[in-house]
Amino acid sequence: MKNFKLSIISLAILGLVGCSDGDNGTNGTDGSNGADGLNSLILQTPLTVGDTNCPNSGVQIDSGLDNDADGSLSDSEIIATEYVCAAGVTSVSNSEILTTLNNDWFAAGEAEIETAKDVWASSISSATAKTAKTTITAKAASIESLRGQAKNVILFVGDGMGISTVTAARILEGQLNGNKGEENQLSFETFPFAGLAKTYNVDAQTPDSAGTMTAMMSGVKTDVGVIGVDEDIERGECSTVDGNELYTALELAEIAGKSTGIISTARITHATPAATYAKSADRNWEDISDIDTEEAEAGCIDIADQLVNFESILEAKIDDLDIDGIEVVFGGGRRHFLPNDADYNSADAVSTVEGDRTDGRDLTSEWQDIYPDGEYVMDQSGFEAIDTDSVEHVFGLFNESHMQYEADRGNDIAGEPSISEMTETAINILDNNDDGFFLMVESGRIDHGHHAGSAYNALTDTIAFSDAVAKAVELTDSSETLIIVTADHGHVFTIAGYPKRGNPILGKVVSVNSTEEATASDGMPYTTLGYTNGLGFRDLGTETDADETYTLAAAVGRQDLTDVDTSSSGFHQEALVPLGSETHSGEDVGVFASGPGALLINGTQEQNMIFHVMDFAADLTGAADAAVE
């Protein structure tokens, strides 16, 4: 249209140029109207917060000509685009601040921090607390004032309970309670202090229970596979034990006059519990038949023997020492205490000959001779008959080998107590001593569930373990009892994919905003939980004993899970690398603590630090030194 108008003007000018001074001519006739021009359109589009061009919202302004005259501005017609963006928020109003600070989540978080502060402050004098908050020097002094404040110490060890296990168990427990699960907390996750422990052994990047438990119980990291001795040991060489023994927190507590106890759902001679009382060049020397003849003839003492004769062995190391022995021992592993003779079989023996000992000794009988007033029990009814007010020593061996998985406990022949029941009974016996007690509680079968590739068994045992911790919290006074909950190592156990909130943790992945099972690039569904290695997939239905996996060849790699109920107790998760069993992992483990000295559990520490925290909080070394002076 503009060009057309210019043409008219040009003609007019040319007309003027062509005239001289003659008369004005008559006006020409009007030209015809030009065609309508194109409409110019402007399109405004509101932009929401998060837009690429206007992160804080705004308006996008597109302009152009309506070439096709359809009354709208299509993308091809846009000539220019401009943005008018809202300014970013650089300040908040008082009302907005109040909303932020008054919401339930903030209030709960603030209360938790204050509670933690109170726990810390209550364990020292108020004056010291005030001072401690002001200067670093005073802080150090105030921490020193905590030494010996813990009358009782309880160390809970979830064998193999790595970070992913804690997370998955927390979700499973929440879901079993009818909730989404992720928001749930296991009992020990509510403790005011937590940190991480580095688990490696002196000679191993990925550790085993023997080396890690020795670190926790004795304060010194050592080699894989050895019990209660330092790194100068040569595994399998009994003669190298001499001179390399380490004192344990349990021994120090015993010397200090405290009552002591050991609980394990594994064999009581297994690596973790053994590291509380034994010194052995090999974790597998659980009874005399496990030791080479030459080593045995050289005087090497098996682990079971060391447990039963703990009192005399420790007394022989220190002049004039007089202790009263371990008050409470609960676990499995009768086979290592009985002679290899069917006449000694227990009522719920699961072998034609229950005992393994080739030296003909019945260590249960020997224990009874040492503690004539003590009670030896081997089943649920015997356990329930224990009078916790009067009994001074109790020795419970509830299974020929390991105790049952919690999910499989109902299948035990003679019946056996839960880890929570054992913890309760132990504390009720140990707290009869006014000088306090040391108790170690191990959930040994979390580890076995993982080794077998069964998340179900590992997680249900973790939940039972959490219940035992809750029972200990209930039965003790947090102002005088240090409780530490940790693991010796983790497992190659993963929580993966992008399942939506509340998706069954044992189930197959269902993505956010979906109701259908997600599929992998191979077109098949997959589970949230999985293992990096091991024997892999099993579909054993309602089976509750994870160890059945060892009766079958490995089935690693991808499986079609379309018609498999992955939440059933008998399902074993897929694994990648074929191994005879799933393995430990080398990452850090969580450490959770409450009570006097608990504040020392923080940050990332070496695992042997746990011993030093216990030693400091209860002043075990100081009290033991005083007792033998």
Binding site: D208, R283, H451, G580
Partner: protein, 245 residues
């Protein structure tokens, strides 16, 4: 050399040996060593011959497979539970399983199935076609037919032992033949004593110690169990075994 004559002679000697033994052992059939030759002809495959040695006493049964150097043992616990143990003869090692659990997809509940190589319930389903001999020499010929299969067994009821077992169906022909029988209890005692001296590992501990070279090799050692005659259901179909090698 006339191989045919020698073969016939050997078979005759074996039959006489078994027969003579039966007379002697009838009073105590529980403790014995029985050797079987197993020949299998599958359609489209060449035939195979393997050996199974049955060792047993009152509460313990072992099936020794010399070809794989593995011995499976079952212990009868108070007539209530059956505990499986697997012995790896080349390694002097054993893996002990929990009684009452499923092993190889099968829960051990029938002691006769391991003790006799065929369960008493299966024997009860079979039809007697002939009976010969008396006392300890008594033999019962039993058959069981389905649409596609036929089982034939020569059963020694006084010894509770299979002398011969044949399976015949379009895809598989299998023949178990007792080749030697020994009731010298010392031999059984000696073999069991040998096995009991192996280093045993609770199956729950397999994952515990990755420094143990035997346990780390477990996955490749095979989970071997050659089939026994009791592995057939009432349709004559193999329930398990036969193919794990």
């Amino acid at each position: 050399m006339n191989f045919k004559k020698i073969t016939i002679l050997l078979i005759a000697q074996l039959i006489m040996s078994v027969s003579a033994y039966a007379k002697q052992a009838c009073t105590d059939y529980r403790q014995l060593k029985a050797e079987y030759n197993i020949s299998v002809q599958q359609k489209g495959h060449s035939s195979t011959n393997t050996q199974l040695i049955l060792w047993r006493e009152e509460k313990v049964v072992a099936h020794q497979y010399p070809s794989t150097k593995i011995t499976e043992m079952w212990q009868n616990i108070n007539q209530k539970l059956i505990k499986p143990i697997r012995y790896f003869n080349d390694y002097n090692r054993a893996i002990e399983y929990q009684p009452g659990e499923v092993v190889h997809g099968k829960k051990e509940t029938d002691w006769s199935y391991r003790f006799q190589l065929i369960s008493s319930s299966m024997l009860a389903k079979m039809t007697e076609t002939k009976r010969q001999g008396a006392g300890c020499d008594e033999r019962v010929f039993l058959t069981y037919k389905t649409d596609k299969s036929e089982l034939s067994i020569v059963w020694m009821p006084q010894i509770k032992l299979v002398e011969s077992f044949k399976l015949d169906n379009p895809s598989r022909k299998e023949h178990w033949q007792l080749t030697n029988l020994d009731t010298k209890t010392a031999k059984v005692d000696e073999y069991f004593k040998l096995l009991y001296a192996y280093k045993g590992t609770d199956y729950a501990d397999i994952g515990d110690d990755h420094t143990d070279p035997f346990l780390t090799k477990m996955v490749t050692l095979g989970f071997v169990e050659s089939g026994a005659s009791g592995f057939y259901n009432d349709k004559g179909e193999a329930l398990e075994g036969h193919h794990h090698h």
